[in-house]
Every structure is written in structure tokens, then in C-alpha cells.
Amino acid sequence: MFERALAGDRKYWGLVVVLLAIVCTGFIAYLWQLKMGLRITGMSRDVSWGFYIAQFTYLVGIAASAVMLVLPYYLHNYKAFGRITILGEFLAVAAVSMCVMFILVDLGKPMRVLNVLLHPTPNSVLFWDMVVLSGYFLLNIVIGWTVLEAEKNTAPPPSWVKPLIYLSIPWAPCIHIVTAFLYAGLPGRGFWLTAIMAPRFLVSAFASGPALLILLAMILKKFTKFDAGTKPIQTLATIVTYCIIINVLFVFFEVFTVFYSQIPEHMRHFEYLFAGIAGYGKLVPWMWVSMIGMITASILLVIPAVRRNHATLALACVMVIVTTWIDKGLGLITGGFVPNPFDRITEYWPTTLELLISAGVWAAGFLILTILYKIAVSIKEELG
């Protein structure tokens, strides 16, 4: 099947070349980081995780959202999703690949990463995150590939793949729950020490992931002969609507508990993110854009006419993706580290090199996605 990725029109190759160029730039920047150490990033003693870990966290959500296609199709026999489950599964594969790359570029000693396997440590949430992420990667690539191959041969998928599909359904939320536990179980980090972290991760993931899938389906319709159809897009839009509203609600729950209780160790982080402390407030405009945008998107999506019109739906989806990205990919990690354990402010902002490396990882992920989608779409086109 892979040969289908090697034959394409000029637009396909153009995209591949552009992505490869970004990957190469990012890789060169990474070689420099390997030589110089992580001091080329904006991270510090106080903000010891930054942009890389934040991207990782956001992308785990994107990966988990594949279940929003798989579950209705396989458990509720919702046929409309049959044509596009492959898009969800391959998006999950690309997203998990990015997650792994973001973890790798964040390590001070990447050449020692196999120590995690050599000295397995079940009390570390990071160990479990490795287990669930690699499992999820394998499940999705095996399921996606096998089902697509069967479709190509116009034969039913082999029977052994069914149990794997059922396993992949509870596995998907697990990857994001475990990722939330990375943060939510640390004493002394008031911003993260909240039981709503995992639920909030899940709903923001199930809003942003399907929103991205809607956009991807629209792009595929524009540039290829593959049309996902109106019905699945509308169902996805409903999922996005419910999840983004619940996410806004969860933010409100968190804000209520933090500010009604008035416990400084929990309030200070919100103060830093949304108002700034003592003149330090690099993230303040971003956080307000995120919150206002998220609420606006929720209101827009509730209106049926907005959802039905593909142009306005696309706009709402972009808003959901951007606002949830600011929330998780920018505010969540830095907000947890500021103020530091000494109640002091050290701000964080990614450096150009850090952003180049991140762009390289994103491009590598989208390259994987492009190739996988090319294979899937070619086969779907051949079948008509």
C-alpha cells in the first residue's frame, strides 16, 4: 500500500517538500541544542518545562480524539463515520509521533531515553505515559493499516483486528488521563493540583481533535476526490459544540473553587495568568484571547445555521483549535511554574531556536499525516 505515497501530483510533492524543508531546519536547530544543551531554550531553574512539554500535552489530546470517530462507529454502529474512522486513526498516529518527538527534544540526555525501559519504575507516571502512548501508537497504526488494506482488497477486515479496535476505545481516554496525572499529582504546584485536570484535558481534547478532523476533511474535499460527506461533519460539529461548552464550564468550576476558597497557593497562578503579578504578565493577553475566544466559539457553535454553513463552521473550528492550544500549549505549563515554590516570579518565553525545533517536530508530524492520508485517500479514490 505504501507505494501510493510515492505517486502523487505536484501539489502533493510540493507539500512534502515544504514540510521536509521545515523538518530539516528544525533538525539543524536540534543539533545545535544537542551541542549547547537546553540553555538555548527559554527554560530556567524555576520554569523547568516549557514549550516542548506543552506541545506534547496538547498533542496527546489530539491523538486521544480519534476515539470520537471509532466509538460511535464500532459501539453504536453509526455508519456515517465508517468512511472517516481511518482519518481519526492516522491523525492519532501522527499526533503520538509528535508527542514522542517533543519528549525526546525536551530531554537533557536523549541518548539515555531507553533507561526508562531498562529500569522500569511503576511509581512514576511518566513510565505509565510511555506505556500508554506506545501502546496507543501501535493500536492505531495496526488497526488503521489493516482495515484500510482490507478495504483495498474489498474484503472484510481480519477477525483478529476487532478485539484490538475494542481495546483502542478505552485506551484513548487513558492516554490523556495519564498525561493529566503527570501534573495533577504533584504537591506544591497549586495550579495543577486539581481533580478536574483529567476531565478538562479530555473535553478540551474532544473539542480540539474533532475540530481539526473537520478542517482536515474539508481540506481533503477541496484538494482530492475524497468527500467525507455532510453527515459525519455535522455529527463531529455537534461533538465539538458539546465538548467546548463543557470545557468552558470546567474552567468556571476551577475558577470558582480557587477564588471562593481564597487559598493563595491556588489563586496566585490564576492571578499571574489573567492579571499579571507585579508587572509580570507576558501571558495575560493570550489567556484572555483564549477564554473570550472559547466562549465566543461555544456561542457560535450552538447556532445551527453556523454549524450548517461550512465556511462559518470552519471559522468556529479554527477558533476552538487556537483557543484550546493557547490554554494547554502555552498557559498550562508556564502557569503551573509561576510563581515558583519561593513565591517569586520568573517568566518564561520560548526562544527562536526553541520555536524552530518545535516547528520541525510539528512539520514531521504533518509529514507523517500527509503520507498516511495520501495512502488512505488514494485507496478511497480508487474504490470510488
Binding site: 549547547m36 544543551g37 537546553l38 540553555r39 527554560m43 530556567s44 531553574r45 524555576d46 523547568s48 518545562w49 519528549i103 525536551d106 530531554l107 537533557g108 540526555k109 536523549p110 539515555r112 531515553v113 533507561n115 526508562v116 531498562l118 529500569h119 519504575t121 511509581n123 512514576s124 507516571v125 511518566l126 513510565f127 510511555m130 503527570l182 501534573y183 504533584l186 504537591p187 506544591g188 504546584r189 493563595p264 497557593e265 503551573g336 511554574f337 515558583n340 515554590p341 519561593f342 513565591d343 517569586r344 520568573t346
Partner: protein, 266 residues
């Protein structure tokens, strides 16, 4: 006929690879398992302290802030950083420090109030790794590169650390530092008795484990001229316990449940 042959050959080759692969795994696991079964723990290195070593059931430290002046504190810090090859990075954002000074409001956030004695408000407190009895850093480390010894000391294996910095996120005391770059060349006069660290690993105070092994108390305690006491918390006859019986001591953020083992007299 030819196609059939080719097919048989590929099948054989595949089968061969399967068998070698599986038997390698079984061999490795089985070999290791057999040793573990016949002589449990023998594959792990065993460690016995030398005769001259100082030993305790639970090491702990007591700092009498009334006896510490800014000058004597600086001496302790300098000695610690010199003997442990702690580099002088200069940049407070990326510096490494094993022991340093913080104001009361920063060392004990939430415990300060507006009407405290000026002496305490202005005084700067020694802070370092608390060698917690319930250490979150050890709990989160994915490689056991940081671990707790039987006597309570939290150790770091800089050869195993992958530099994920999860321990730094987990530590509620900001005790851990990361080698953001190659800091070795910043060490002015290098102590050949103690290793230096590469870029990309985490480090922190080790309660002078290397000195205890040679029968010497931690360097800061030695240098503090009686302001710091180091001893066995489990030994009711130790000087540490004697002082604790008579004086009220406080700890940093005890409500987090990490059970820190550095006690302060203010």
C-alpha cells in the same frame, strides 16, 4: 515450480527470523530470571559501609538561625559549592546551587505575617534539599536515577538521569538544579575527590554522603561552628533529639506531607 520454491524459501527465512528473535528474548529473560530465582538480588550490586563511616537509621539536620550570621552562612555555602564542584553560573535563571539563603517569606511562604519581629523578617534562612521522608522527586523519577537510601538520604545518579526534569516539577522546595549547558568549564578550582556533572542532568544537595562514608559530618555543619546539628533522628540519645525535645522547631511546608528532614529554630 519456481514460484513455489521462492515461497518456501521466504517462509523459511521468516520462520528462521521468528525463531531466532523469540529465542533471543527468551534466553535473555530466562537467564536473568534464573539468576534472580537461584540467588535473588545477586545481580544488583551490594553495598556495605566501611568501618569508619558514619551511619544512622534516619539522618536529619537542625539549623539554629539565631547562631547564624550572614558571614558564617556565606562560608558554609562557599565550602559546600567548592568541595562538590558546583559551578558559579552567574545567571540566576540557570544557576546551580546546593545550599543558599532565602528570606523567611520565601522559604516559608504563607507562614509570614505583617507583624513579625524585624529580625526574622530580615533574616535570611538556609535552604537546601530537605531529604524528605516521603519524597515526591523519587516518586516521579522514571528511571530511579534519584532514590532514597535506607538512612533517608535522597541520592542522585547522574549517570542514569535522562534529564526529563520531572523531579524539578515535583519538588515543592525548588531544591533541584539542572545543567542547562556544559557548566564544567565554570568550575574554578576543581576538587578531584568529587565528580563533576555533564550538561543535561539534574543535581542537588546530597547531605555530603561522600563525607559520611569517610566518617565526616556534612561540610556545612562542620563550617557552621555549632549553628547546624546533623544527627540520627531515630536515636533518642542523639544531640539532635536532645535539642528537639527542648526547643520548638519548624519545617518548610510540612502540610504537603513530604515530611522534610531539615528542621529550623528561629
Amino acid at each position: 515450480m519456481k514460484t513455489v520454491d521462492e515461497k518456501t524459501v521466504t517462509m523459511n527465512r521468516r520462520k528462521f527470523l521468528e525463531i531466532t528473535g523469540v529465542s533471543t528474548i527468551v534466553g535473555l529473560l530466562g537467564g536473568w530470571g534464573l539468576v534472580e530465582l537461584l540467588a535473588p538480588g545477586e545481580l544488583e550490586a551490594t553495598y556495605l559501609p566501611k568501618k569508619e563511616a558514619l551511619v544512622a537509621k534516619r539522618w536529619a539536620m537542625l539549623i539554629d538561625m539565631k547562631k547564624i550570621t550572614e558571614q558564617s552562612a556565606k562560608k558554609c555555602i562557599t565550602v559546600c559549592h567548592r568541595i562538590h564542584n558546583v559551578p558559579d553560573v552567574g545567571d540566576p535563571k540557570r544557576e546551580i546551587k546546593w545550599i543558599w539563603l532565602e528570606h523567611f517569606a520565601n522559604a516559608f511562604p504563607g507562614d509570614e505575617h505583617e507583624h513579625m519581629p524585624e529580625r526574622i523578617e530580615e533574616e535570611r534562612f538556609f535552604v537546601m534539599c530537605n531529604h524528605c521522608d516521603n519524597p515526591p522527586c523519587v516518586r516521579v523519577c522514571p528511571t530511579k536515577a534519584t532514590w532514597q537510601r535506607g538512612d533517608g538520604i535522597i541520592m542522585m545518579d547522574q549517570h542514569r538521569c535522562i534529564g526529563c526534569r520531572y523531579c524539578m516539577a515535583a519538588c515543592p522546595f525548588g531544591a533541584r538544579g539542572f545543567n542547562w549547558g556544559d557548566y564544567r568549564f565554570l568550575i574554578k578550582d576543581r576538587n578531584p575527590e568529587y565528580p563533576t556533572r555533564e550538561k543535561g542532568v539534574v543535581e542537588k544537595c546530597n547531605f555530603c554522603a561522600e563525607r559520611l562514608a569517610k566518617g565526616r559530618i556534612p561540610a556545612c555543619v562542620e563550617e557552621s561552628e555549632g549553628a547546624m546539628v546533623f544527627g540520627d533522628l531515630m536515636d533518642s540519645q542523639s544531640e539532635l533529639r536532645k535539642i528537639m525535645r527542648e526547643q520548638y522547631t519548624i519545617r518548610r511546608k510540612p502540610y504537603l506531607g513530604t515530611n522534610p528532614q531539615v528542621y529550623y529554630m528561629v
